[in-house]
Amino acid sequence: MPAPTFATQVLQTLAGALLLISFAMLAERRSRRLVTLLIWQGVVLVTSTLLVAVTAQQPHLFFSAALTLALKVGVLPWILLRLMRRLGIERDNEPLVNVPTLMLVGLGLVVFAFGLAQPITALATTVIRQTLGIALAVILLALLMILARRKAFTQVIGFLALENGLFFAATTTTYGMPMVVELGIALDVLVGVFIFGVFFFHIREQFDSLDLHHLETLKED
C-alpha cells in the first residue's frame, strides 16, 4: 500500500471530523447548538469537496462546493434559525433513549457501517477509500437521531444531516453525482425544509407544541 498523500490525509481528518460532529449531534439537546453543528458539518463538506476537486481535477466539483456553501452553510441554517425564533424553540425534551445508550448504539452502527463498506472500498480506485464507511456511518447516525428525538424540529435537522452523509459519500467515492442530479437534490432539500417549516406551524397550531407524541392521538382505534 503506497503511503497516503497529504491531501488524502487531510480528507481522512475531515471525514473523522464529520463523524465526530454526527456523534455530537446525537448527544446535543439544545436546538441552537444543533444548528451550529449542522453549519460545521456543512463547512467540513465544502472543504472536503474543494479538496477532492483540486486533487482529482474535477472542475464540476467546484460548483458543487459553491452550491453546498450557499445552501448548507448559508440558506438552510438561516431558515432554521428564523423558524426557531418564530416558534420559540429552545431545547428539545429528553431523547426517547438516554444519551449514553444512544452513544453505544451509535458505536455499534459505526462498526456495522465499516464492515458494510469493506468489500466496496476494496474495489474502489478513487483517492479515498476509507471514507465510504464513515459516510455510511454518518447516514446511519442521522437516522438514529431522527428515531430517538421527540420534536419535529430536531428531526428535520437529522434529515439534513442524513443528506450531508449522502453527499459526502457521493463526492468522495465517485467524485460527485452528475450536476443535474446534484442540483435536483439541492432543490429538493430546500423545498423540503420549506414544507417542514409550514408543517411546524400547523402542528404547533393544532397541538400547541412540536412534540410529536401528540400526533399519536390521531390514530383511529
Binding site: 426517547l96 458494510l116 437516522l143 428515531l147
Partner: protein, 671 residues
C-alpha cells in the same frame, strides 16, 4: 393500421365496436341527468352496436374463418396488448352481442330518473361493462385479460350498487367485490404458473410452454378456483344470490346472462385451449363440482320467496350444468375420446347460449313486474297475467325454456348433456364407468326440480288472484321493454326450432378446442348427434306437431262446447268464499322440497300457536356454507388483523424504527 386492417379485418371491426360502446358510455356523461337522451338515444345505439358485435362473432364462426391476431399500440412499453379472434371468442362474442342487444333495448325503456345513480353515469358504467366483457373474450395475453377482467368486476360493482343509499345493497356490493378480487387473484396466479418460467405473458407463449404435470394441475386448480368464483360454483357462490337481486334488473340480466359466461369462457380457454391435456381427475373434480352446484342451486331456488333471488339461485343451477359439461369434456379428452368430448362441449356451448337468452329474459321480466307493482316478494304478487299480458307471455316462453321443455331451447342443451352422459360406458376406465352415469341421475333431478321452480315462479307471479289490491293498477311494460323481451324470446324459440344449426355453430368451436365435431346426422331437419338409431330430435317437427295438436284441440273445443264456456274465479275448487290470501303461496309451494331436503338448509322458523289472536308466521332459510366456510374464515382474518394492528401503535418513533430496522436488515442482506 392499414396493413393491420387487411390482416385482421374482423378483429378490427370488433375493436371498433368496443370503442363505440365506450364512446356511447362517454356520451352519457354529456348530459348526465337527461333521461330522454340517455334512454331513448344512447341505449338503443348500444343495442345496435351489440348487434354488430354479434354479427362479427358469427363471422368468426364461419367455416372459412382463420384466427386473426392483432398487437395493439396500447398498454405498457414493451408489453403491448395482444388481441385474438378465433372460433371460441367468436361464439362468446355472438352470445354477448345478441343477448346484450336485447337487454340494451329493454334498458332503453326501463331506466328512469331519480333511482340512485344518475342515468348518464349509469349509461357509462353499463357500456364499460359490456365493452370490458368483449375485451375479456378478445384478449390474447394475460395482461390485457386481467385488465379487462378487473374493469368488468369494477364496472359491474358500480352497477350493482346503483341504489347505494340502502345499506343491504352496499353490503351485497362489497361481498361481490371481495369475491371478485379473490377470484381474480386465482386467475392471476394461474397465469403466473402457465407461463412456465418464460415470463412471456401472451397466451401463445403459454400454449407453447411445457409444464411439469404437477404444475399443470396447479394451474388448472387455480383456474377452476378463479373462474369458479366468478361463475358461482358452490361453495364460492355466496356473492351471487346477494349481488344479483341488489342490482337493477337489466344489470342482473347482464350479470347472470352474460358475465357468468365470461367465467365459462375463461375456464374453457384455460382448461381446453391453453392446457394441452391432463389427468382424468381434473374432469371428475369439475364434474362433481358442477353437479353439486346444479343440485344445490336448484334446491335453494325452490324455497326462495324473492323472485330475483329465485332466479339467482337458478343461475347457480345452470352454471352447475355447464360446468358439469366441461367436466365431462375434460374426462373424455383425457381418454382421447375426442368426438365425445366435442359432444359434451357442444352441450356446454349451447346451454351457455341458451342460459344467456332465457335468464336475461326472466330477469328483465321481473324488472317489468317490479316497475309495475313495486314488489319483488312473491308473497305479494299474483294474477298479473291479466294486467301485464305481454310480459306474461314472454316470461312464459322463458320459464318453459329454462324448465327444459321441448320445443324450446333449454330442452336442446339439456338433452345433449344427457346424451353425453349416456355415452360414458365408452370410457376405458372401470371406476369412472360406474361413477359418471350417476351424474345423469343428478342432472335429471336438477332438471325436474328446475321445472318445479319455474312452475312456482310463473304460477305465483302471473297466475291466480292478486295477493295485494294495489296490483290491479299494474300497467304492462312499455313498447321498448317489449321489444327487448321479444328479441330474447325469439332467440329461445329459434334455437329450439333449429337446434341443428346451433350444433353446426358449436362444431366450429369444438373443432378448434378438441379437434372434433359432432355430426348433425343424415337429415337436414333432424338432429342425431350420436347415431340416428339411438337418439334424434327435430325441433321444427316438434313445433309443427305441437301447433297442429293445439290447433285441433282448440277447434274441437270450440265446435263442441260452443256457448257453454264460462269464466269463474281462479283456484276456486267449488268454495265460493275464498280470499286471495288462501292461494298457494311461494312458501307453501316450496314446502315439500324444504321438507325433503331439510338437512341442506339452515332454517329458522316461527310458527304461531292455534290460540294466537294475531298469528304471525316467519321463516328464514340460510345457506349452510355461510356458517360453515365463510364465518370461520372471516373470524380468522379478523384475529390476524387484530394481531397485525399491534404493529400500528400510532407512535411515530416506532414507525421510524421500522424503516430503520428494514434498512439495516437490507444492508445486512447486501453484506
Amino acid at each position: 393500421m392499414n396493413e393491420l386492417a387487411t390482416a385482421a379485418p374482423t378483429a378490427v371491426v370488433v375493436l371498433g365496436l368496443v370503442g363505440a360502446w365506450l364512446l356511447v358510455g362517454g356520451l352519457g356523461l354529456l348530459r348526465p341527468n337527461a333521461v330522454g337522451w340517455v334512454a331513448r338515444v344512447l341505449f338503443p345505439l348500444g343495442a345496435l352496436i351489440g348487434l354488430g358485435v354479434a354479427a362479427a362473432g358469427v363471422a368468426a364462426l364461419l367455416p372459412a374463418f382463420a384466427p386473426q391476431r392483432l398487437v395493439l399500440p396500447l398498454g405498457l412499453p414493451d408489453l403491448p396488448f395482444h388481441v385474438r379472434l378465433d372460433a371460441l371468442s367468436g361464439f362468446f362474442l355472438a352470445l354477448l352481442g345478441s343477448a346484450g342487444a336485447g337487454i340494451s333495448i329493454f334498458s332503453a325503456g326501463y331506466f328512469r330518473a331519480g333511482e340512485g345513480t344518475a342515468p348518464g353515469l349509469l349509461c357509462l358504467q353499463y357500456h364499460v361493462f359490456l365493452a370490458s366483457m368483449a375485451m375479456v373474450m378478445l384478449a390474447d395475453d394475460a395482461y390485457l385479460f386481467m385488465v379487462a377482467w378487473e374493469t368488468m368486476a369494477l364496472s359491474s360493482y358500480f352497477l350493482v350498487t346503483t341504489q347505494h343509499r340502502l345499506p343491504e345493497i352496499r353490503r351485497a356490493g362489497f361481498l361481490y367485490l371481495l369475491m371478485a378480487h379473490v377470484g381474480a387473484l386465482g386467475i392471476l396466479l394461474c397465469f403466473g404458473v402457465l407461463h412456465g418460467g418464460s415470463w412471456e405473458m401472451t397466451f401463445d407463449a403459454m400454449r407453447a410452454s411445457t409444464l411439469a404435470p404437477f404444475w399443470m394441475s396447479v394451474a388448472f386448480l387455480l383456474a377452476l378456483f378463479g373462474f369458479g368464483t366468478k361463475a358461482g360454483l358452490v361453495p364460492l357462490h355466496v356473492w351471487l344470490p346477494e349481488a344479483h337481486p341488489a342490482a337493477p334488473s337489466p344489470v342482473s340480466a347482464m350479470m347472470s346472462g352474460l358475465m357468468l359466461k365470461t367465467a365459462v369462457y375463461g375456464l374453457l380457454r384455460v382448461s381446453l385451449d391453453m392446457l394441452p391435456g391432463g389427468p382424468w381427475w381434473w374432469g371428475l373434480l369439475t364434474l362433481a363440482l358442477g353437479l353439486g352446484t346444479a343440485l344445490y342451486g336448484v334446491i335453494f331456488a325452490t324455497v326462495q320467496t324473492d323472485m330475483k333471488r329465485l332466479l339467482a339461485y337458478s343461475s347457480i343451477e345452470n352454471i352447475g350444468l355447464i360446468v358439469a359439461g366441461i367436466g365431462l369434456a375434460l374426462v373424455f379428452r383425457s381418454f382421447e375420446l375426442r368426438v365425445l368430448a366435442a359432444l359434451a362441449l357442444t352441450a356446454v356451448l349451447i346451454h351457455a347460449f341458451n342460459h344467456a337468452l332465457f335468464k336475461s329474459l326472466l330477469f328483465l321480466a321481473t324488472g317489468s313486474v317490479m316497475h309495475a307493482t313495486g314488489e319483488r316478494s312473491l308473497g305479494k304478487l299474483g294474477g298479473l297475467i291479466r294486467r301485464m299480458p305481454w310480459v306474461a307471455a314472454f316470461a312464459l316462453i322463458g320459464s318453459l325454456a329454462i324448465a327444459g321443455l321441448p320445443p324450446l331451447n333449454g330442452f336442446v342443451s339439456e338433452w345433449l348433456l344427457l346424451q353425453t352422459f349416456l355415452q360414458t360406458p365408452r370410457i376405458p376406465h372401470a371406476f369412472l364407468n360406474m361413477i359418471v352415469p350417476l351424474g345423469a341421475a343428478v342432472i335429471s333431478l336438477a332438471a325436474a326440480l328446475a321445472g318445479y321452480v319455474m312452475v312456482k315462479f310463473y304460477g305465483v307471479i302471473f297466475l291466480g288472484k292478486h295477493r295485494e289490491s294495489s296490483l290491479a293498477a299494474a300497467r304492462d311494460a312499455s313498447w321498448l321493454e317489449r321489444i327487448g323481451l321479444a328479441w330474447l324470446a325469439l332467440g329461445c324459440v329459434l334455437v329450439g326450432a333449429f337446434p341443428q344449426v346451433a350444433l353446426d355453430v358449436a362444431g366450429r368451436v369444438t373443432q378448434a378446442l378438441v379437434g372434433a365435431t359432432v355430426q348433425r346426422g343424415p337429415s337436414p331437419w333432424w338432429m342425431a348427434p350420436v347415431a340416428a338409431n339411438q337418439a334424434s330430435y327435430s325441433g321444427l317437427w316438434y313445433w309443427v306437431g305441437l301447433l297442429l295438436a293445439t290447433g285441433a284441440t282448440y277447434l274441437l273445443v270450440r265446435a263442441f262446447y260452443r256457448g257453454r264456456t264460462r269464466r269463474t274465479a281462479q283456484w276456486d275448487c267449488g268454495y265460493p268464499w275464498q280470499t286471495p290470501r288462501m292461494q298457494d303461496s311461494a312458501e307453501g309451494f316450496g314446502q315439500p322440497i324444504r321438507h325433503l331436503f331439510g338437512p341442506v338448509f339452515k332454517i329458522e322458523r316461527e310458527v304461531p300457536l292455534p290460540t294466537d289472536a294475531a298469528p304471525k308466521y316467519r321463516i328464514q332459510i340460510e345457506d349452510r356454507f355461510w356458517a360453515a366456510c365463510y364465518q370461520p374464515l372471516g373470524r380468522l382474518l379478523q384475529r390476524i388483523t387484530e394481531r397485525m394492528a399491534v404493529l400500528q401503535g400510532g407512535r411515530l418513533a416506532v414507525y421510524l424504527l421500522y424503516s430503520f430496522l428494514t434498512l439495516i436488515f437490507l444492508l445486512v442482506c447486501v453484506l
